[in-house]
Symmetry: C2
Subunit: 290 residues, 2 copies
């Protein structure tokens, strides 16, 4: 079972139980963030949670400051993809008692990024475990009904990315350092310019674009993709963790200066991606693909 | 370093960085939940996160439905301790691909409890790891400025618990089943009756009462404690995971029918607990006590 199939199954169960939305949740499982609308409030709140586990997402010998930075980046990037401004986060952290120096470095990296974007650390949990892991929940704010959704793409929209792709995958291959940045200012700018649909590139263009197309019930035709310096086309098409934004531009909307137009949304089987006329295999990161 | 010392250190760092409150967070690290106040909204939102890890909080051979139930109970109990009504949760779950049947049982227990209290499952994260772990974030709602706080105890208040203690510790010792329930209706009732101060008994009376007293800058004198059937006084004083509520009653406030008055709040060294005139050692659960 793939991750998507697993999530679909949970979602079906929730719908049957009446627990998929309600109590203020207007968008639940299936987008980058959940959307919560409180009575009387001018803004919607968005929520996202992202885990990192030693031996899966990082190794013990990595610079803990970069691991801390990445742990917060993952959730802030989801927030950016909704066009939201982050307000606060919760950090749940599990580690062995003897890792206190490592943990100190982790907090350094985490809090430096939190400070940059003024994200309050409001709570969380601690545990003593053999291996290090963390879960970061971020709450952000977006004007009511204005969050960018995966499901808002329409045939005819141009498909854009916010920068060259593949830098993170290249760094992984060559064991060099790559420090991704959440595109928060860009997310808000896109929203203000009238963009309605975005997703962050966490698991690779082919997989994340397929998710966007599935959610929107359409296909996409790609012409060409900007490749980061030194990276291969494979890196750019399938490599994860770049944390650039992928978004669509409806007809008549001017592309922002940073936009690289890579193709367009088309009618066709939901989730199908063609690259230069050929079907593009989905090869990005899926935790549970057999 | 104990858990409390670790949290204090993080808190000091946050204050220096200006990230301990603000952006709507009016109460941050240090209570059962963080409190968020949104402009224009009639109610405050409260947030709490709680992790569970295989080999620390549960074992592989336990009934996964009970593990799922407990995973949500921990956060809902924090919500009850604030006098709040839960609205939605995020579930981050990590497990090995071959554990899919176990995970199915986990969801059964988790969602049965979610259904009982009508808690929407709005999102979360999934990971593929060698050992099972989870982190549950709950958002609840409480009338503005009315959340029960650890820091609201005052000398002269009576100290109460919501039921006999030690049942969970007894069950652990005798390897029997104990299924704790979050005291959500009671938390709301206490708030409506004018109670201002509560904490949930997750880590044992001695430790949780010391936390409450530390937060309120006072001491407590205990006379007697109701002991669950078959449990010892040690179980009742120090055993964790009962998830009863501990709260204080200011002078003039009638105790609700379920209240067991066990002592009173006193002037004295912050966090000091006397039991029948003798200092009570703090022996509850601390993840990082050396």
């Amino acid at each position: 079972m793939t991750e998507a199939q697993f999530i679909d199954r949970v979602h079906t169960r929730l719908q049957r139980l009446g627990l998929a939305r309600g109590n203020g949740i207007v968008t639940g499982i299936g987008d980058d963030c959940a959307i919560f609308r409180q009575r009387g409030a001018a803004a919607d709140l968005i929520f996202t949670a992202d885990m990192m586990h030693e031996a899966v997402h990082f190794t013990w010998d990595e610079d803990p400051r970069i691991v801390g930075h990445k742990a917060l980046t993952r959730s802030l990037s989801d927030c950016a993809a909704m066009g939201a401004r982050p307000l606060f986060c919760l950090l749940s952290l599990a580690f062995p008692a003897e890792a206190s120096q490592w943990v100190d470095g982790f907090y350094q990296g985490f809090l430096k990024l939190a400070k940059k974007h003024h994200v309050v650390l409001a709570g969380g949990d601690l545990s003593n475990t053999a291996k290090i892991s963390c879960d970061v929940t971020v709450c952000g704010q977006v004007p009511r009904g204005r969050a960018l959704l995966r499901s808002n793409a329409r045939p005819g929209d141009r498909v854009c990315v916010s920068g060259p792709l593949g830098a993170a995958a290249l760094a992984l291959d060559t064991r060099r350092r790559f420090i991704p940045q959440p595109q928060l200012a860009l997310g808000e700018t896109l929203r203000e310019r009238g963009v309605k649909c975005a997703i962050d590139l966490s698991d690779g263009l082919s997989l994340d674009l397929a998710r966007l197309c599935l959610a929107s019930g359409c296909a996409a035709h790609l012409n060409s993709v900007p490749v980061a310096k030194g990276a291969s086309l494979q890196h750019a098409l399938h490599g994860g963790e770049d944390y650039q934004l992928l978004f669509t531009l409806p007809k008549g909307l001017q592309p922002p200066p940073i936009a690289h137009i890579i193709g367009q949304i088309a009618k066709g089987p939901a989730g199908q991606i063609l690259y230069q006329g050929q079907p593009l295999p989905v090869q990005g990161w899926d935790h549970f693909r057999p």
